[in-house]
């Protein structure tokens, strides 16, 4: 197998010269007769280290940065292909202090996978949510998203399950039996570029989330409305759509997604203005009601969600149904759970659940292991000692409360 070298293609890395670095690496490797594959991944988010290159070694991925094209020759001379030490050597990527303490959910594939490779995405655990959703009834999918407590990431934090349920229940008009999934990728506010980071670094998560939404409400068409200021995100999504067409259109699913480009209107980030724009008009807000969930795109029931909202869905489905009973049992056993801020419920629930330890046998629980409120190993019910969120500490780092 060819040695893999990762050079981000994220717009931020490009603005800092990543393309020139990628070219220099390919040329230097060829000059030295080393057979390599340059993978253009997304950004890990450490822009102060971009372009951050990573080399896959038996010790894991080793990072160097910030790399300029003029550094490439000396990097190879220092043996970067086997993780050699150099002025720009940062060590194992996963051990970098800023990354080490993070638990990534929606962003878990970004920077790790090749955003143009469906195989890479599936190998990194992607696709499991859609696979499970294909075996479920629409109401079951909606229930799972509701139970997880997922809220919209577009700003208003509206519960996603309630929105989806409305669309699932909404009748289509007889002349046009079509519901729609619309992704709001207009990200107009300065300072927020998480949607862009995800679309460029992990487009398959978004496509998967949309396909699951389609199964949940009975929609077979989706649109991603991306602002025109993000040409690289548009390119990444279109490339992923080419690679993922068969996967999305698999048997029962048959979900078709189209990327639509905005045209420089901030107001089009508002959901009804966005729908107007998709229909080919000026981005002028509609009066509500009717809600888009009842009468949205082309007058049909429409789910409209933000990029991160939809990209969070595969992870929720992949974890299997966490029963509300189990959650309640866990919540009783974990005093600090009730005081978590409600707005970030999903992340916090999962964070807490994955950091629990059985008080009887001391097994640390994976989320799946607390299903039905029992420890998978010793079968004891609901004896979960919280160690959240930094494992093994008895104090909750959010509430600062010490635990019994």
């Amino acid at each position: 197998m060819k040695a893999r070298v990762y050079v981000p293609r994220d717009a931020a890395a490009l603005a800092l010269g990543a393309d020139a670095v990628a070219v220099a690496i390919a040329a230097e490797a060829a000059r030295r007769g080393i057979d390599i594959q340059v993978v253009r991944n997304g950004s890990r988010g450490m822009f102060w280290l971009e372009p951050l290159i990573e080399v896959a070694t038996p010790r894991g991925r080793i990072a160097y940065g910030p790399v300029a094209a003029s550094d490439v020759r000396s990097l190879f001379a220092a043996g970067c292909m086997s993780g050699g030490v150099h002025r720009l050597y940062l060590g194992a990527t996963d051990a970098l202090p800023w990354l080490k303490r993070q638990q990534r959910l929606a962003c878990r594939h970004i920077g790790v996978v090749d955003p143009r490779s469906l195989d890479d995405y599936l190998a990194d655990g992607g696709g499991e949510g859609l696979r499970r959703a294909r075996g479920m009834a629409p109401a079951g999918i909606v229930a799972q998203v509701t139970d997880a407590g997922l809220r919209g990431r577009g700003g208003a934090a509206f519960p996603v399950g309630i929105k989806w349920q409305t669309v699932l229940d909404a009748p289509t008009s007889p002349d046009c039996a079509q519901k729609y999934i619309v992704c709001n990728a207009d990200e107009g506010d300065s300072g927020t570029f998480s949607d862009r980071l995800l679309m460029e670094g992990d487009p398959f998560s978004l496509l998967e989330g949309m396909a699951i939404a389609g199964l949940a409400v009975g929609a077979t068409r989706g649109y991603i409305y991306v602002r025109s200021e993000y040409p690289h995100a548009i390119e990444a999504l279109n490339a992923a759509l080419v690679g993922g067409r068969d996967w999305l259109g698999d048997q029962a699913g048959n979900f078709a997604i189209e990327v639509r480009k905005g045209a420089g209107s901030y107001v089009c980030g508002e959901e009804t203005a966005l729908l107007e724009s998709l229909e080919g008009r000026r981005g002028i807000v509609r009066a509500k009601p009717p809600l888009p969930a009842v009468s949205g795109l082309f007058g049909q029931p429409t789910v409209i969600n933000n990029v991160i909202t939809l990209a969070s869905v595969p992870g929720i489905l992949a974890r299997g149904r966490i029963s509300t009973v189990a959650l309640a049992a866990v919540a009783r056993a974990v005093p600090c759970l009730s005081s978590w801020p409600a707005t970030s419920s999903t992340v916090v629930w999962l964070k807490c659940l994955s950091a629990l330890r059985c008080a009887s046998c001391c097994t640390t629980s994976a989320v799946a292991r607390v299903r039905a409120g029992r420890c998978a190993r010793c079968r004891s019910a609901a004896h979960w000692a919280p160690t959240c969120p930094s494992r093994n500490s008895t104090r909750c780092s959010t509430t600062r409360r010490s635990l019994p």
Partner: protein, 147 residues
């Protein structure tokens, strides 16, 4: 009138899309650099819309232009995060620097590079971060050189 034939082909390729107007306008602008006024009646006829509707859409969206840009289109981010790190001074410098040149200068409101501003985009393809007036001059000199 070579333009009209090209425009006709573009409209024909997209006219059956639901909500086809924005994709059609994008394709025309991508191919010709702008949306020529003479294309409006043609689009109106093909999409079964009024000319006023088409004009309303073109003039509403900042991205669409009805005149040809210069040899290159230089966009400087004027949104808050870039303003906070010298974006306004850069824009002011750029205005003076590009006066009377064959490059077109436009403001853009956030390129998603807010953590590494001031940010700049050339021709919707190339991005630059941490742009100082000096770096700007160097970039423009490079653009002038590859005529």
């Amino acid at each position: 009138m070579a333009n009209l034939a090209a425009i006709e082909r573009i409209v024909a390729a997209k006219r059956t899309l639901p909500g086809a107007l924005l994709p059609v306008l994008h394709d025309i602008q991508e191919a010709l650099g702008h949306i020529p006024p003479e294309s409006v009646p043609l689009i109106a006829r093909e999409l079964n819309l009024s000319r006023a509707e088409i004009h309303g859409v073109i003039s509403y969206y900042h991205h669409f232009r009805q005149t040809l840009p210069g040899r290159h289109l230089v966009r400087i981010c004027c949104a808050e995060a870039c303003q906070a790190v010298g974006g306004e001074a850069l824009a002011e410098h750029a205005r003076t620097r590009l006066e009377g040149s064959d490059l077109t200068l436009e403001p853009v409101y956030c390129l998603g590079l807010c953590a590494i501003g001031p940010a700049l985009q050339i021709d919707e393809t190339t991005l630059h971060a941490h742009v100082t007036p000096e770096k700007f001059d160097a970039l423009m000199a490079a653009l002038a050189a590859d005529k």
